[in-house]
Amino acid sequence: MYEGVVQDLIDELGRLPGVGPKGAQRIAFHLLAADPADVRRLVAAITEVKERVHFCRVCGNVAQDEECRICRDPRRDVTVLCVVEEPKDVVAIERTREFRGRYHVLGGAISPIEGVGPDDLRVRELMTRLADGVVTELILATDPNLEGEATATYLARLVKPMGLTVTRLASGLPVGGDLEYADEVTLGRAFEGRRLIDV
């Protein structure tokens, strides 16, 4: 145990995800030895992120204003909507530079064992967004794990009667991997989703 404030700092750092007691101690002593200006910058960044960052009222992504950068951008295609679980998935898809439509962030996946049902996610907001008929294609980009698949199934069933095209991201072999190491489920999905080669 350290004295007063040092121990308080270690305890607070230890509550962060992925930081254990030893790691917390290391960060605390790093901060103690660091330049005061660096520490002030860190403090300012933390305070500012809590004060200025909200969730976009349209898509649920993190935003500095009422609406996020993507929802405000008039060049984005309003007819295609991509549904993701978390804001970090938006960033991952944006990195591909393949997608020019807009997003809808659910805030998680349906997981009954954790007590998370459709009402705990932004499903109602999604249905409201789709109601005006502007969106013609809905891309379900939830995680390719069990909860993500089940969420996609649930949404597809809900949205299909509205008459829009519902698509799901492809699953299969990772680029740069070895076929022999692929598990049966992934390899099976790769076969299911095989496509014609145009030459």
Partner: protein, 243 residues
């Protein structure tokens, strides 16, 4: 460090650190085991989808102090895709794994019957010939029976008077005769008790002949009976999608 091999069903997974997961398994020989699957969240993981919930796998693990570590996993049967692609099956299967987990609260205590029951129920669910909520109710009743809480649907649960009887006491262990019944117990339709008895013993022909409204009443009784014996409610049960 000792290695062992076993077959098991993945009950639930939980994120650990950057790319790992803790996998809770119900195994054939070793009961419920919690093990770390290293690097499983990376897209190039050699485990891939093998350690997703509802997967039936052949595993090699090594024994750790608190958690074991999965070193190899081979698929025995893959139920995940067929379950996740059908929402009512997904919600039913989730209740099954949560129940199995609760009935095997003690880790590493062999629970072969619970294991066999779960594998059978998942297989039946995926085959798709039976209604998911009936498969679920049958599983719950048999799971209760394996745990020692078998309800009585015909003879009186208190005095053993041969039935059928009109009352059903959730906290009394089943059907109650006219002289044993206490105020406040349920009085379900006779067909509902018939249905539940058929689900418990596996007489599908009888169970499927019963009307839908009795199924609904039966599911309510099963849920109440289960919650009574588990003391703490199941999180997934209110989210089950019923037709």
């Amino acid at each position: 460090m000792s290695l062992y091999r076993d077959q098991g069903v993945v009950l639930r997974t939980q994120k650990l650190g950057e790319a790992d997961r803790i996998v809770s398994l119900l195994t054939r020989e070793h009961g419920r085991v919690r093990a770390v699957a290293k690097g499983v969240r990376r897209t190039r993981s050699r485990f891939g989808a093998r350690l997703e919930p509802f997967m039936h796998v052949d595993l090699q693990l090594y024994e750790g102090r608190s958690l074991d570590v999965v070193t190899q996993a081979e698929t025995v049967a893959s139920y995940g895709a067929a379950i996740a692609g059908h929402y009512p099956r997904y919600t039913a299967a989730t209740v099954m794994v949560e129940t199995a987990e609760r009935f095997t609260s003690e880790e590493r205590q062999p629970a072969m019957q619970q294991y066999l029951l779960l594998v059978g129920a998942l297989r039946t669910l995926v085959e798709g010939e039976r209604v998911p909520e009936m498969v679920l109710d049958a599983f719950l009743l048999r799971s209760l029976a394996v745990a020692g809480y078998a309800p009585s649907f015909a003879d009186c649960a208190r005095c053993g008077e041969p039935g059928p009887h009109a009352s059903f006491g959730v906290s009394h262990g089943g059907a109650l005769c006219a002289s044993c019944r206490v105020p406040g117990v349920a009085t379900p339709a006779p067909d509902t008790l018939l249905l539940l008895a058929a689900l418990l013993s596996g007489e599908w022909a009888v169970a499927e002949g019963v009307e839908v409204r009795h199924r609904r009443e039966g599911s309510g009784l099963v849920a109440a009976y289960l919650q009574w014996h588990l003391e703490r409610g199941l999180r997934s049960l209110p989210l089950v999608e019923r037709a």
